[in-house]
């Protein structure tokens, strides 16, 4: 097993990976940028290496500095998390060239599958159904227009090296095409360092259903059931659940088999996710393979009772998979709500800033994968995820009730969050009936306004806060480091 693992990421995912490393008694190394010196992932690691300034290219995307940090600390493996360098073939190759194990598939596989265009071709050849449409690989506006005409509007523009909704745009008519392509390409360049984009037919009544796979280096491959991730804003998932209400056992088996075929066609090793679009007739189409641990992996962990990070580490260390397909049985129902610093009343725009106060919900069947704490300043430079709230219960209805309860007990003061919005989604009839399609938010929650039924209580709280003002900590205007300093609170003393 590895002597030490460096986690080349930040926030909740770095913290989550460190938890499993600790259980496995593997020491961890964090890396961080200027703005993350006091981040939770730094404090949760056994050691940490400063990378550079806040810009991702100087820190979390800087391959040379991360490799140097691993060598300097004696880390023999690197876990990339998701985002940043997680699906960067050059990074996986650099690890390999420096005798560091990359916890993920090989550089060659990442490269093939990371190029969404090549990936589609591999799948089509192996008989995995792909989304209708044409792929293009060009930066020429005339070719974009031509390709869009051939596919037929509405079309979906995506980044060839993309993921997480970055660089994605739906275009309904030709006049918006060029601008959308340019913004998408620019976003793709910022987020992934590659501005190549491509187009697909946009299917509007579909569900996003993905299959978790685990493949070892000895030729064993299994799937760990599905996750439904249809509730999305800005093409980025916000609520996920498993099992999907749309899958029968037969369809689940068929999609699971297609995912394993997809993995084997590409020579996949480690944990991965095969994403499909599922239409209302039960037809499904390959979207892409995510060659990393997914943001929403915890819901799979809850229903299968399997620690995916532990399996990633064991597979990377060359251990054979001891699980067979028959061992994988889903129990109960799990839901995840992503808690981002964002404003649901303002098109889910990021809302960075200092967390004045944070209170995480606890209770039976509640898990909160959190990367922040009270007084942490959420940086403007990175993805605004604060935490992922996951619940697990016997049935879907009970899981919904449990999530509503957990969201009601979750307090985040400072950045805005979509907690109130997600409460309304979970309480809505269409969600409870399982009518979850990728256009769910546009159809049911387009101009959402919060449902504020306890106005009088809030007014009473306003008065109570004034009334009890003298009891308030009067150090509010100080910086967090001043406030938490023990020395200040101790007063004068001599040694």
């Amino acid at each position: 097993m590895f002597q030490k693992i460096l986690i080349a990421n930040r926030g909740e995912i770095a913290v989550r990976i460190m938890k499993t490393c600790r259980e496995m008694q593997i020491p961890t190394v964090a890396v961080y940028s200027d703005v993350d010196a006091a981040a939770l992932h730094v404090m949760n690691a056994d050691a940490a290496v400063h990378l550079g300034s806040a810009e991702p290219s100087e820190s979390y995307l800087n391959i040379n500095r991360i490799i140097a940090a691993a060598k300097q600390t004696g880390a023999t493996a690197i876990h990339p998390g998701y985002g940043f360098l997680a699906e960067n073939a050059q990074f996986a190759q650099a690890c390999h060239d420096n005798d560091i194990t990359f916890i993920g598939p090989s550089a060659e596989v990442i490269k093939k599958l990371g190029d969404k265009i090549i990936a589609r071709n591999i799948m089509a050849k192996s008989g995995v159904p792909v989304t209708p449409g044409t792929t293009i690989n060009s930066n020429n506006p005339d070719e974009w227009a031509q390709a869009a005409e051939t596919i037929g509007y509405p079309i979906l523009i995506k980044a060839a090296s993309g993921g997480g909704g970055k660089g994605m745009r739906v275009v309904h008519s030709p006049e918006n095409l060029e601008e959308s392509c340019e913004t998408a390409a620019s976003e793709a360049r910022t987020a992934f360092g590659d501005s190549t984009i491509y187009m697909e037919k946009y299917l509007d009544k579909s569900r996003h259903v993905e299959i978790q796979i685990l493949c070892d280096s000895h030729g064993n491959a299994i799937h760990l059931l599905e996750r439904e991730c249809s509730i999305q804003r800005r093409h980025q998932k916000i609520i996920e659940e498993t099992p999907s209400t749309a899958l029968t056992d037969a369809l689940r088996k068929k999609m699971g088999q297609a995912a394993i075929t997809a993995a084997q066609a590409s020579g996949y090793v480690n944990a991965g996710t095969v994403e499909f679009l599922l239409d209302d007739t039960g037809k499904f189409y390959f979207l892409e393979v995510n060659t990393r641990l997914q943001v929403e992996h915890p819901i799979t962990e809850m229903v299968t009772n399997i620690d995916l990070v532990r399996h990633q580490i064991e597979i990377a260390a060359g251990h054979p998979l001891l699980l067979s397909q028959n061992d994988i049985v889903g129990r109960g129902h799990a839901i995840e709500c992503r808690i981002y610093a964002e404003d649901p009343e303002n098109n889910f725009f990021p809302s960075p800033g200092k967390i004045q106060f944070l209170k995480e919900p606890t209770g039976p069947g509640i898990r909160n994968d959190c990367g922040v704490y009270t007084n942490f300043d959420v940086p403007v430079e990175y993805d605004p995820i604060l935490s992922k709230l996951i619940v697990f219960a016997e049935t879907r209805n009970l899981a919904i009730q449990r999530m509503i309860h957990a969201l009601q007990r979750y307090a985040v003061i400072g950045p805005k969050t979509a907690i109130g919005f997600m409460l309304d989604v979970l309480s809505s009839k269409p969600f409870q009936r399982g009518e979850t399609h990728t256009d769910f938010i546009d159809v049911h929650f387009k101009n959402w306004k919060p449902n504020l039924s306890e106005k009088q209580i809030a007014c009473a709280a306003f008065l109570a806060d004034n009334l009890l003002a003298e009891k308030k900590d009067n150090t509010r205007n100080e910086t967090p480091s001043e406030r938490i300093s023990v020395w200040k609170q101790l007063g004068n003393f001599r040694l």
Binding site: V380, K455, A458
Partner: protein, 167 residues
């Protein structure tokens, strides 16, 4: 003590009577609430209102507060205090027609130069926050007289990035 609070664009007049240091009544919307309050931390209050318990999270100052109850956030303002304040400082208010980012962000691209004539809705500056790009466009027709930022600069929400002389 009388208050005029504003919650979600509705004005709520309240008569407040402090009975003991932790207890008060509030008459509002044809109803009187009897409230007992405990402060748990600067941001947490435990309220008992007509016998029912509420855990409330709160942040703000005398004029305005954000209040979270059961996962919902209420923004409440004290209209009397805000009116006093704005009477003194109304001229400093930023005109809503300025070129301002909606959130703290980083300038990724500047699409115009000083001296350029721009038309209403023309794209001027692209800013990015947390990897999301937003295009700021011209609020009216005019000539760019000054650009206050450079590409790569960090800017605050509502910071004026560019001056435009309206036609």
């Amino acid at each position: 003590m009388d208050y005029r609070l504003k919650c979600q664009n509705t004005e709520v007049p309240i008569q407040c009577n402090v009975e003991k240091s932790h207890q008060f009544s509030a008459a509002l919307e044809n109803k009187t609430l009897y409230i007992s309050a405990e402060r748990i931390s600067p941001y947490e209050l435990f309220l008992t209102i007509d016998g029912r318990h509420y855990n409330v999270f709160i942040h703000g100052n005398e004029q305005e507060k954000d209040i979270q109850i059961n996962g919902r956030e209420y923004h409440i303002e004290d209209m009397d205090l805000l009116e006093q304040q704005s009477a003194g400082a109304s001229e400093i208010e930023t005109a809503p027609s300025d070129v301002i980012p909606p959130m703290p962000s980083i300038v990724t691209r500047i699409l115009v130069q000083v001296g350029d004539h721009v038309e209403k809705a023309q794209s001027l500056i692209i800013v990015s926050a947390m990897k999301m790009e937003t295009t700021l466009s011209a609020p009216y027709n005019g000539v760019v007289t000054k650009i206050h930022v450079a590409e790569g600069d960090k800017v605050a929400a509502k910071q004026v990035l560019m001056d435009i002389d309206e036609d």
